[in-house]
């Protein structure tokens, strides 16, 4: 199949533009996070959104929302006027939507240029995973009052996209015979999508630890953590996204095994990539267990989640670039 050079070039441009737009949005969000009133308000009340929703209920109703184990100052602060920082934050969100659309365009164009699923090498894989990370984040900020945290989410994304676009860039090309299978479409996309989603709980868990440490001792991270939402909100963001990504990841590993059975002659052979995926899977299983184990909820669970994401990143970079295994399809020369 010949490669369509023009489309491939447009894809590259879209990718670069999306990255630039994210950087811009990142700056907007940092302004919002640093100067926003909203951020401080959100930090003070965990279930701000839930309350707003309920407040709209019929007359004569009383509402009790038990904070799930939050001892954060649960006073509802007076409503504050929409400030300038908040406006900047909303502009950041709009920019992010634009960036995500361009990001998607880059992916689609790459697919048309190569006439195959656009995740056949490491560059394309990271392009997909970062896209999913951003798209998930957009959904998260629709559901949870955490928009002003977008900067923390976008920082790793932007760094990843920059490294990806420069060091890992691979020109559009067909894939080798072992990859010419519909399992490429299913297995690799499931892996990339779940890894992309896992970025969200990874970041949320780091913020959780900072916030928790601050809640235990307000002197710690006083300036910074005071503006984070309550630990409880961050915990919920992490849990909800992990619970979404984990079955998908499981599905991806399962499909990988089915594919390996037809491509490599066995469904599981402890290839470095398989092994590290197994390790990451076990860590995330431990995360879910820890939330049902007394004494392990909260901080320890967050640490486990971060380990899970570390294993995922390690699998992507170290195993692809350093060790040699059957998965050496990175296409990084």
């Amino acid at each position: 199949m010949p490669i369509n050079e023009t489309l491939s070039r447009y894809s590259d441009w879209s990718y670069t533009t999306a990255t630039a737009i994210y950087v811009l949005a990142l700056l907007f969000f940092l302004i919002e996070q640093s100067f926003g009133v909203k951020s401080r308000r959100a930090a003070a009340s965990a279930g701000a959104r839930a309350r707003e929703l309920v407040g709209a209920g019929g007359p004569g109703t009383t509402e009790v929302t038990a904070g799930t184990g939050t001892d954060a100052p649960a006073v509802t602060p007076p409503a504050l006027p929409t400030g300038r920082a908040e406006r900047i934050g909303r502009m950041g969100a709009a920019l992010t939507v634009l960036g995500v659309l361009l990001h998607l365009t880059a992916l689609v164009l790459r697919g048309f240029a190569t006439d195959r699923a656009p995740w056949g090498n490491m560059y394309e894989y990271i392009m997909l995973a970062t896209f999913i990370g951003m798209a998930t984040w957009l959904l998260v900020i629709k559901k949870f009052p955490v928009r002003h945290l977008s900067g923390f989410m976008m920082l790793p994304i932007v760094i990843l996209m920059f490294i990806n676009g420069t060091l890992l860039y691979a020109t559009a090309a067909p894939v080798q015979p072992a990859l010419q299978s519909y399992w490429l479409v299913i297995h690799v996309s499931a892996a990339a999508i779940s890894s992309g989603i896992f970025l969200v709980p990874g970041v949320a868990s780091i913020l959780y630890l900072i916030r928790q440490s601050h809640e235990q001792n307000p002197a710690r991270f006083a300036k910074f953590a005071g503006r984070l939402p309550a630990a409880d909100v961050l915990d919920r963001v992490a849990y909800r996204t992990t619970v979404l990504a984990f079955p998908l990841f499981t599905f991806g590993v399962l499909c990988g095994a089915v594919w390996a059975e037809s491509a490599w002659g066995r469904f599981w052979g402890w290839d470095p990539k398989e092994t590290t995926a197994f390790v990451a899977w076990v860590i995330y299983a431990a995360y879910l267990h820890s939330r049902a184990t007394a004494g392990w909820r909260g901080g320890r669970a967050a640490v486990i989640n971060i380990f899970g994401f570390a294993a995922t990143v390690f699998n992507l970079f170290f195993i692809n670039l350093v060790t040699a295994g059957l998965h050496s399809y990175a296409g990084v020369g």
Binding site: L53, G57, A66, A178, A263, R266, W270, V282, H289
Partner: protein, 537 residues
């Protein structure tokens, strides 16, 4: 997961109580069991499993690459030897890895047994009584509506269709509904854990009864039969496989084709094969199959894979007395991208019966083969993997090949110790294109006649892999239900409003029995419906 214990019987007054050895042993067993099946232990075992699996990704593993492993050990001195002794190069069959997953297995069984019982009881039980004080629940709303209590109950029954509900009359006109939903979560959780149990067992059995063998077959109509270990170049049996009674089938490789892009990147490999198994073996009929990467042949319960391909240069040696010998021996690619290959084609002199004399006149043709040759200052390289203008750069060695030495010899190389001992000497070095030849000092002529492609095949046998797949799918479905279904309860208590007798006071309360996340919205929606007049969609 701990069972409640009956309170101790009243102590016997006459003797101070001392547990006998049997009792002590029992207590020890019971405590160990409890410890092992606690959630915390499971968690720690999971960590250990993750930790123990990791070295396998970082250190070379013998089962994957024995040569690399040995190199690693020798180049790391005592450190390498120590790791080897501690089984770090066979992580997944090591004692410690097995111990961890066996413990986890026990923990899993110990955890699942009581939970299954609990589950069976819970699935038959009615939803719990409506608590007296609903306002203590995590979610609670109260309001007065115009409908009668009966109308409200009717509305609730309709709204809670699909929930398991229990209605109760609490007297004084107060009625309540207790409803619960999401039992599928626990079902899913159990299916998931049992699926995993089954998967681990099936996987372990598979490791014992499976085998894998590799074989190279010339793509000129040569055939291979799965008749025994001897038919393979390499063979890796499971613990319970002794190599006898393999499933009989035969494969004949008629042709091999590879296509490449303009820059030599491979696009497609295909081996044109025929096979026979079962009744075909008696009738002798062959069935055609196009063997491709990702498209293994599945027959007789085994799978045949196309792993790769290579080139076998054909050499003819014409001895001074006019006798000729022709051999087509596979050489192996030292560079997968350009298929520059190396190998050794070995000849015994014809008509020589004396072993000692034969050992002075054996020949080996070693060197490089390039499918798309490029000579650069006399150095042969290959510009691509396709067969464009093949060429060899050979050393012809004469003397004792060491074939009688009893040492195993690779078919791809000569025994270098023979060269070192001076028993095998180079008698010619030449680059040859197809049709060219070189004549040795004794008049023997070595000619490069052409090239034959070969296919490298793998036969795999694993009787449990279908079970593994079934268990894996069960796990996945169970996991989905267990993570995405929410177990939750809702209660509704209605009583006639005081005074005029019209209207009803409604209390709605909710509790998510699992993670609270996301339940609030559903509750709010439901409470809104109960607390507003008329219908709202």
């Amino acid at each position: 997961m701990t069972a409640t214990e009956a309170p101790p019987k009243s102590p016997e007054p006459q003797k101070p109580y001392r547990a006998g050895p049997v009792r002590q042993a029992l207590a020890f067993v019971r405590n160990t069991w409890r410890g092992l099946t606690s959630m915390r232990t499971a968690l720690i075992l999971l960590f250990l499993l993750a930790l123990a699996a990791m070295p396998g990704a970082l250190l070379p593993q013998r089962v994957l690459n024995a040569t690399k492993t040995d190199q690693y050990i020798t180049s790391h001195g005592w450190w390498g030897t120590l790791l080897d002794r501690l089984q770090f190069f066979e992580v997944y069959s090591s004692v410690w890895f097995s111990a961890i997953y066996l413990l986890l297995l026990v923990s899993l069984v110990g955890c699942l047994t009581p939970r299954t019982g609990e589950y069976l009881r819970a699935i038959r039980a009615k939803p719990v009584l409506t608590p007296r004080n609903l306002s203590r629940m995590p979610h609670f709303r109260e309001g007065t509506v115009g409908q009668s209590t009966e109308e409200m109950l009717e509305k609730a029954r309709k709204r809670l269709r699909g929930w398991r509900i229990a209605e109760r009359d609490e007297g004084d006109g107060v009625r309540s509904v207790s409803a619960e939903k999401g039992y599928l979560r626990e079902t899913g959780n159990l299916v998931f854990h049992f699926g995993m149990l089954g998967l681990i067992v099936a996987f372990a059995l598979g490791k014992m009864y499976s085998y894998e063998g590799q074989v190279i077959v010339q793509a000129d109509g040569s055939q291979f039969c799965n008749s025994g270990v001897f038919a393979y170049d390499t063979f890796n049996p499971g613990l319970r496989v002794d190599g006898t009674r393999l499933d009989p089938f035969c494969v004949k490789v008629n042709d091999f084709n590879a296509t490449y892009t303009a820059v030599g990147q491979p696009l497609h490999y295909r081996a044109d094969i025929q096979y026979q198994s079962g009744a075909d073996l008696e009738t002798g009929s062959w069935r055609p199959y196009q063997l491709e990467v990702n498209e293994p042949l599945r027959t007789a319960g085994d799978r045949v894979y196309l792993l790769g391909y290579g080139y076998s240069p054909r050499f003819t040696v014409t001895y001074p007395d006019g006798t000729t010998r022709t051999q087509t021996t596979q050489w192996r690619a030292s560079n997968q991208a350009t298929m520059l290959s190396e190998g050794a084609t070995k000849f015994d002199p014809p008509g020589v019966t004396d072993a000692a004399e034969r050992r002075t006149r054996q020949l080996a043709i070693t060197g490089l083969f390039a499918p798309s040759s490029l000579l650069h200052g006399g150095i042969l390289t290959s510009t691509g993997p396709g067969l464009v203008n093949p060429m060899v750069a050979i050393d012809v060695m004469r003397g004792d090949l060491g074939l009688d030495s009893g040492r195993a010899q690779s078919i791809f190389s000569i025994d270098q110790s023979m060269v070192k001992d001076g028993r095998l000497k180079r008698v010619a070095r030449k680059n040859l294109a197809v049709g060219e030849s070189v004549t040795l000092d004794d008049g023997t002529k070595v000619s490069f006649d052409g090239v034959q492609k070969y296919a490298s095949l793998q036969v795999s046998h694993d009787p449990t892999q279908d079970y593994v797949l079934v268990f894996a799918i069960a796990m996945l479905l169970g996991l989905g239900a267990s993570l995405l279904v929410k177990r939750r309860r809702v209660w509704l208590r209605v009583r006639p409003a005081d005074g005029d007798g019209k209207g009803t006071v409604v209390q709605v309360a909710g509790l998510a029995r699992t993670d609270q996340a996301g339940y609030g919205e559903e509750f709010t929606r439901m409470a809104d419906e109960f607390l507003t007049e008329g219908k709202r969609k």
